[in-house]
């Protein structure tokens, strides 16, 4: 089974040289720490920067340089800064090769819910609806089940949707799955996790074809 860092590490293996990547808050943010050596990847933050670098050294924080999580950041050499409209032009216009974000629920048709729980305080969707509606390549990073032990991979989302038919791949603490027209297709098992455990933790349609390799993280 993977922890959060493990999920981030596994997703980092999906990165390709030259990609522009938008990382959501939470597990996705950790991916920046695991970019394979020699790979040039540029991180976009939707509040208006391409070429986001690591956190600043203590004492070098700049209130005018934050990411979409409102954290102080740095800019890499070759960075570019722009307004929010230009930022979402990049996203909506499909100039960003990969979006990784968290989710509360994913359905086996690629629907995603990650912004609202009825009856609870709603904080808002931020940029998530634009990101999922626009990106060609969306990976969801999340735990396979919620705190109550219930599956987050469903046949139909129960929570208000963030986007429809958009998720392409899911990396959880248990598995890597592709979203296909026939449902979740199991691609890899997390270390030490059996196909049965994944089947038990998946409420939506799950396709298991042949031997499922254990992932190398």
């Amino acid at each position: 089974m993977l922890n959060k860092e493990g999920i981030a590490k596994r997703i980092a293996q999906e990165l390709k040289d030259g990609w522009y990547v938008n990382l959501g808050i939470g597990i996705p943010t950790l991916i920046a720490n695991y970019v394979p050596d020699g790979l040039n990847v540029v991180f976009q933050s939707e509040n208006g920067i391409l070429g986001m670098g690591p956190f600043p050294f203590e004492g070098e924080e700049d209130a005018d340089l934050i990411n979409a999580g409102k954290q102080t950041i740095t800019a890499m050499p070759g960075a570019a800064i722009f307004d929010s409209a230009t930022s979402f032009a990049m996203i909506r216009g499909q100039h960003i090769q990969l979006t990784v974000l968290g989710a509360m629920e994913v359905a086996d048709n690629g629907d995603i819910a990650n912004w609202k729980i009825p009856g609870k305080m709603v904080k808002g969707m931020g940029g998530a609806m634009d990101l999922v509606a626009s990106a060609d390549n969306i990976i969801v990073a999340m735990m396979h089940t919620n705190r109550a032990g219930k599956s987050k991979l469903l046949s139909k989302c129960t929570l208000p949707l963030t986007g429809v038919n958009c998720v392409k791949k899911i990396v959880t603490n248990l598995a890597v799955l592709d979203v296909t027209p026939d449902g979740f297709k199991l691609i890899e098992r997390a270390p030490g996790v059996s196909v049965e455990e994944i089947q038990n933790a998946t409420a939506g349609r799950l396709i298991v074809e042949g031997d499922i390799p254990e992932m190398v993280v």
Binding site: E61, D62, R92, M125, P160
Partner: protein
């Protein structure tokens, strides 16, 4: 051509109860601190505020919320604010949540005389309720309307007497878009300079979009999430 006003009080003159305001900023980054303080002092109430976020309890738009001067918020994300939550759950405060990219594009469209446009963001979600859906290139889109405001209030790094503005870092965010969309746009700047001091090639907001400008005082520029790394030897 001199758009400089002598004080923040003069800058916000004419902002009346029930008006719609746009306020630049992302979180607490790039917010018009001086103007917000003056709005609090002015006691103006019943405001509709279009702003990506709603500040925190004791800073930014949170200060207006504390005094119950805001009737409605139009935002994309409003977490990190207990008073906001209380007013929203009690029904005192109306809240219209909009996808962040649509919010940015709707302000830009408002400033650019484009009354409506199609976007894929929000299709199939409650954001799309009541909105026209149309398919382009096989993909469903929804029709979103432009946003404008009685006053737009933005914060820039430097500006000149003609209203030309430049922003620093990610404090740019929504500011240039909202500057376009205000019937009257107020710009507060950290440094007011003479026309000619800003390179015409590198103006972020051309002065035509700005009606009033002043140099703000005592910027706190509070950091919401101070994240750092430590130097290793």
């Amino acid at each position: 051509m001199n758009k400089v006003v002598g004080s923040v009080e003069l800058a916000i003159e004419g902002i009346q109860n029930g008006m719609t305001l746009m306020l630049g900023g992302f979180g607490l980054c790039g917010i018009p601190e001086n103007s917000i303080s003056a709005l609090v002092k002015s006691g103006v109430t019943g405001l509709t505020c279009i702003s990506n976020n709603a500040g925190v309890d004791d800073f930014g738009l949170g200060l207006l919320l504390q005094k119950k001067q805001i009737k409605k918020m139009i935002s994309s994300y409003v977490g990190e604010n207990d008073e906001f939550e209380r007013q929203m759950l009690s029904g005192e405060l109306e809240v219209d949540l909009i996808p962040q990219g649509s919010l940015a594009a709707r302000c830009q469209a408002g400033g650019a005389g484009v009354p409506a446009f199609f976007t894929p963001a929000g299709y199939g979600t409650e954001v799309a309720e009541g909105k026209e859906v149309r398919i382009f290139n096989g993909k469903p889109h929804i029709l979103e309307a432009a946003l404008t405001a009685d006053f737009a209030i933005v914060k820039a790094w430097k500006g000149d007497r003609f209203g030309n503005l430049i922003f620093k870092g990610t404090a740019r965010n929504f500011n240039p878009l909202m500057a376009m969309a205000g019937k009257i746009t107020i710009a507060e700047v950290e440094e007011l300079v003479e026309p000619g001091e800003l390179d015409p090639n590198f103006i972020h907001t051309p002065g035509v979009f700005v009606q009033r400008i002043f140099e703000g005082k005592n910027y706190e520029k509070r950091i919401e999430q101070r994240t750092v790394r430590t130097k290793t030897n």
